[in-house]
Amino acid sequence: MVLLSDRLKSILRGRPLYEEAGLSANGGHHLPHFVSKPAGGAVLESRQSRGLDQFFGSFRDQIGLSILDLGGACQENVNFITSLGHKFYSEDFLRIFHETFGEDRADQSNSGRIDYFLRQSLEYPDEHFDGVLAWDALEYMEPALLSATADQLLRILKPKGYLLAIFHSAERKQTSPCYSFRIQDLRTLQVSRCGERAASHQLFNNRGLEKLFHKFESVKFFLARDSLREVIVRK
């Protein structure tokens, strides 16, 4: 009821929808799906995320954990994670991926290039992180690179550590849109589309994902609308 009256007031005042998103984040309300437009011009979509809920739910009542965000640093995620008392680590994984391989898919099978890429992006001590937010960074990799990356993620995660990954489609496509993910609250993500990349030949259906993460202790899927799969993997 409060939410409805806030929205009505916003409409009557001619207030842009993205300001409502701010209200939602601050007020702790969970708005249903809507689309807003931030200052940068990219289209933002607020969506519920059960994967995110599970990810941070597993760290409830703990502080001082090490959380790696592979989506590059953004203010929202830094604020959210550090406000929970955790240490935030940032890697702009897709940027390094693009700088290393460009559009050359064949290069993603070259073991030398794979080693170089993993040294650039995931060179951390063994069992260093309690959690890794991979977002959709794994979705654009060819099978050989993907498998090596999954092994590396397994290595840097602590036992009982969690990984959150998102896959947009279980079907093979030529290209796949890429997104940035900003944490709005424990259950809500702001998702903005930031271009398109060549899609992987890997199939990201349940069986494919189970195979990819077979060295981990458990794999849990959440199938959301728009064929989005949120995957929580536990070491």
Binding site: Q75, V78, K87, S90
Partner: protein, 157 residues
């Protein structure tokens, strides 16, 4: 050999246009330790360490700092490669690049900035003596020196 163009050798002097802060211009390269008792604007190359315990360090868009940095406030528009301790806040602006670990009380990261490393948020400790010094520095006073302890021949034109 540096391709940087003519400028007096290693000259670091206060820039009146920046309210009394010292400036390392874009044609200057310093290797060594920098301690400053006033704000510092770096638009050149610095390798080593930079310490401005109660002051603000700004890395300009042409600035490249390969150094450990300690300051009250850090604003990055250029490149920092090294660990940064900013007792009050750090701002990483759009197009800036920071590779290193950050310890600070507050952080601002603009979209488009590149950051690789860790962020530790530590509560700012109240420093009455430091605040007093800052108030005093607001009053007109002779410019405090920037001490650049450079290795032999490290300051290049």
């Amino acid at each position: 050999m540096s391709s940087m163009s003519s400028m007096p050798m290693g000259r670091i002097e206060p820039d009146s246009s920046r309210g009394g802060s010292a400036t390392i211009g874009k044609a200057v390269k310093i290797a060594g330790q920098i301690f400053s008792r006033e704000d510092l604007y770096v638009d050149g190359d610095v390798e080593g360490t930079v310490e401005l315990m109660d002051h603000k360090l700004t890395i300009g868009p042409n600035g490249k700092v390969h150094a450990g940095v300690k300051a009250r406030e850090v604003v990055a528009l250029g490149v920092i490669q090294g660990n940064v301790e900013a007792s009050e806040r750090i701002e990483i602006r759009k197009d800036a690049k920071l590779v290193g670990d950050i310890k600070t009380a507050r952080i601002v990261i603009e979209d488009g900035a590149y950051f690789k490393g860790s962020i530790d948020i530590v509560k700012a400790e109240p420093k009455p003596a430091a605040n007093q010094a800052r108030q005093q520095s607001a009053a007109p006073a002779p410019p405090a020196p920037v001490v650049a302890t450079a290795g032999a021949g490290d300051t290049k034109r």
